[in-house]
Point group: C2
Chain length 349, copies 2
C-alpha cells in the first residue's frame, strides 16, 4: 500500500489524480441515491482526506457512506434549513441528511456573524456524521477566523475509571488563521486511538498496545477483538475523559441533540454513520483583538516559530506536506479498496 | 484573627472555619495594599480553594498574591472597566489589577448576553492571574449556563517533540449546569502535572515520575530540580500539546493579549503572578436547545448517571465532598503555612 514504485499502477495499488478521486466518489454517491446537494460536499471531504493522506477519512469511508444511505431515517435528498436564531447563533437543520451540506449552506452566515459581532455559534442538528472536522475548520480559517468544532459519535469509549462504553470517540478540532493557506489546525479523537486503527489491527491479526482498550470484563487487553467488543479508552487519562464528556454535552444536550449513547440507540443496530449534532464556534481575531489584533498575530507567529524552531511539529504539517505531494503526483489507493469501490458501482442499487 | 484556642490546634496544623480563612486572607491582602475591590474577590477564591481542599489554590497562594502586589506594573487599586463590544462580546479591562474583580464586574453582563443571544464571549485583558478557573465556572453555571474558560501562564512547558519551555501550564475549564449547586465542572492544567506539585517534590527531596518533565538538555528526568530548570511536559502527548497551544492562541492573541512567552518577558524576573488575558465563553442551553432543551438536560443527566453508575467519578466530586466537610468541620491549615501567613501581617509593609 505504501510501496515506493512509480507509475500509474502497482501490483497492490492504483495511482489516481485528486480530480479522479473526486469524480469517483461523486459517481458512487450519486448512484447510491444521494441528491447532488448531498453528494457534492461528501465527495469533497472524502477527496480532501485522500489528498492529505488521512486515509481513514478518504476513499476508505465511501462504502460506509453508501451503507448509511440505507438507514431508515436517512434522507438522501435532504435540503438543510439555515436559521439565524440571533446575531451570533446560526442553526443548521440537516434534516437527517449528511452534516456537510448543512455546514456548507450555513458557512456564509457564520462568517458574516463572526465579523459583525465577534463570535458565531453554529449548531448543526439531526445530521448523519462521518467526516473529519478539519475540512470545516480550514473552510472557516480561510476567512480569517479562528474556530473550534466538536461532535459526539456512537458510544465506544469508557470513561476513565469505568468499564463500559458510554462516550464517543468525540473529536475536538481547532484552527487559527495565519493569513495564508496553512492555518494552524488540529483535529483529534478524545479516545487514545481511532476506532479504525483498532479495526485494522484486528484485520491484520496484530495485538494492540495496552492503553487502547479494555475487554468486556473491564480488564486491560492487547486483543483488538476484545477491545472492540469491550470499550476503547480516552487519551490522557481523566483529563481526556473529561474533554470527551464536554464534547458530549456541548455538541449534544446544549444544542438539543443526542449524546453518543442516544446516537447508538438511534442507530438501532444498522451500523450507519452516527446521527446527532455538531457544534462550531467561530471567533474573529480582528474583532476580538480590541485594537491589538496585529500584536496578537505577531505573538501567535512567534509561538509557532518557537515550536518549529526547536524541532517540534505543528499538528497539520504532515497533512500539508501530503497535500503538496498529492496535488503533484496523485494519490495511491490500495487495489483492494479500489476494487471494493468499483464493485459499489457495479452492484445492485 | 486566628487565635490558638484549645481544641482548634494540632501539633502540625491549625483548624480554621471557612469564615476565619476568608477573614485572614482579606486582612493580609488589605494590609499588602490592595483596595477593597481587589482584595475581596481574591480572598473569596482563596477561601473557596481552601474550603474545597484544592490546597494549591488556597491559603498557600496568599504569600504569592502579596509578592505580586510589588510588581512595578501591578495596580493595587485598579478599577476594572467593562465594555459591551457587541451583543455577544464583553471586554473586561482589568487595568493591571487581578483578574477576579474584572470577572466579578463583568459577570452580570455576560449572563444577560448569553440569555439574550445564546452566547457571550468574555475577554479579560491586562490582568494578573493566579486563580483556579473553577470558581468562575461555578459562578456562571449558577445562572443555568454552560461555560468554557482558559488562560495562559508563564512559559514552563515544552511542546511535545520539543525541548524548551514555551507554553504555559494553560488551564482549561468547563462547566455544565445541573439545576442544583453541584454542576458538572472540570478544570485542569494542560501540563502533565501542576508546577506546584513538582516544586513540592523538590522541597521534599523526592524524585518525580518520568513524564512530568525534561532537563535542560531535553532529556527525560526524575529530578524535580532538573525539571523545574528544564521544562515541564504536556499531558496526553501531542494532543495535550495542541490543546495547550489552543489556550495560548484563544486567551492570548485572539483577544489582543500576551502568550505565555510574552508573559514571562513582561514579568521581567520579578516572579509575580503572570499578567495576560483570560477567555470565557458562556453558552445558554435554554436558548441553544432550539426547543429541545428539556430532552437535552435529560440526555446529560443520563450520561452522568452512566458515568457514576459504573464506578467512575465526576471531575468535581472530590471537591464537593471536601466542601461539605469544610463547611461543617472547618479546614486544617499546616502550622508552617499558617505561621508564614501570620508573618505577612507582622512583617514590614
Amino acid at each position: 500500500m505504501m510501496s515506493s514504485e512509480a507509475g500509474k499502477v502497482g501490483p497492490d495499488h492504483v495511482v489516481m489524480s485528486v480530480d479522479e478521486v473526486r469524480e469517483l466518489a461523486l459517481k458512487v454517491l450519486l448512484q447510491a441515491g444521494l441528491s447532488r446537494e448531498q453528494a457534492g460536499p461528501v465527495a469533497e471531504v472524502i477527496t480532501a482526506g485522500e489528498r492529505d493522506e488521512c486515509h481513514s477519512h478518504g476513499l476508505y469511508r465511501l462504502p460506509g457512506c453508501v451503507e448509511t444511505v440505507r438507514h431508515p431515517r436517512f434522507v438522501p435528498d435532504a435540503v438543510p434549513v439555515i436559521t439565524e436564531q440571533s446575531a451570533s447563533v446560526v442553526r443548521a437543520d440537516a434534516r437527517f441528511g449528511y452534516s456537510l451540506p448543512a455546514f456548507e449552506r450555513a458557512l456564509p452566515t457564520v462568517v458574516r456573524q463572526a465579523r459583525e459581532v465577534g463570535v458565531s455559534v453554529l449548531a448543526i442538528n439531526d445530521c448523519f456524521h462521518f467526516a473529519a472536522l478539519w475540512p470545516e475548520i480550514e473552510a472557516i480559517t480561510a476567512h480569517g477566523l479562528a474556530a473550534i468544532a466538536m461532535t459526539p459519535n456512537h458510544c465506544w469509549v469508557a470513561p476513565t475509571g469505568g468499564t463500559r462504553p458510554i462516550l464517543g470517540t468525540n473529536p475536538f478540532a481547532f484552527g487559527w488563521p495565519r493569513g495564508g493557506d496553512r492555518p494552524y489546525v488540529f483535529d483529534f479523537a478524545t479516545s487514545e486511538i481511532a476506532r479504525g486503527d483498532i479495526a485494522l489491527h484486528k484485520l491484520a491479526g496484530k495485538p494492540i498496545p495496552l492503553g487502547w482498550g479494555i475487554d468486556q470484563a473491564g480488564q486491560p487487553t492487547t486483543s483488538a477483538a476484545a477491545a472492540l467488543a469491550g470499550a476503547m479508552l480516552p487519551f490522557g487519562g481523566y483529563k481526556g475523559s473529561a474533554l470527551a464528556t464536554m464534547v458530549e454535552l456541548l455538541a449534544g444536550p446544549l444544542i438539543g441533540d443526542l449524546t453518543s449513547m442516544e446516537s447508538t440507540a438511534f442507530d438501532g443496530g444498522v451500523n450507519a454513520a452516527p446521527c446527532h449534532g455538531e457544534l462550531i464556534i467561530a471567533l474573529d481575531p480582528a474583532f476580538l483583538g480590541g485594537g491589538r489584533t496585529a500584536a496578537g498575530h505577531q505573538g501567535a507567529e512567534a509561538l509557532f516559530a518557537a515550536i518549529t524552531g526547536q524541532g517540534a511539529r505543528l499538528p497539520s504539517q504532515r497533512r500539508y506536506e501530503a497535500r503538496e505531494r498529492s496535488m503533484k503526483d496523485g494519490v495511491r489507493v490500495s487495489r483492494a479498496l479500489h476494487e471494493r469501490i468499483i464493485a459499489l458501482l457495479d452492484g445492485p442499487q
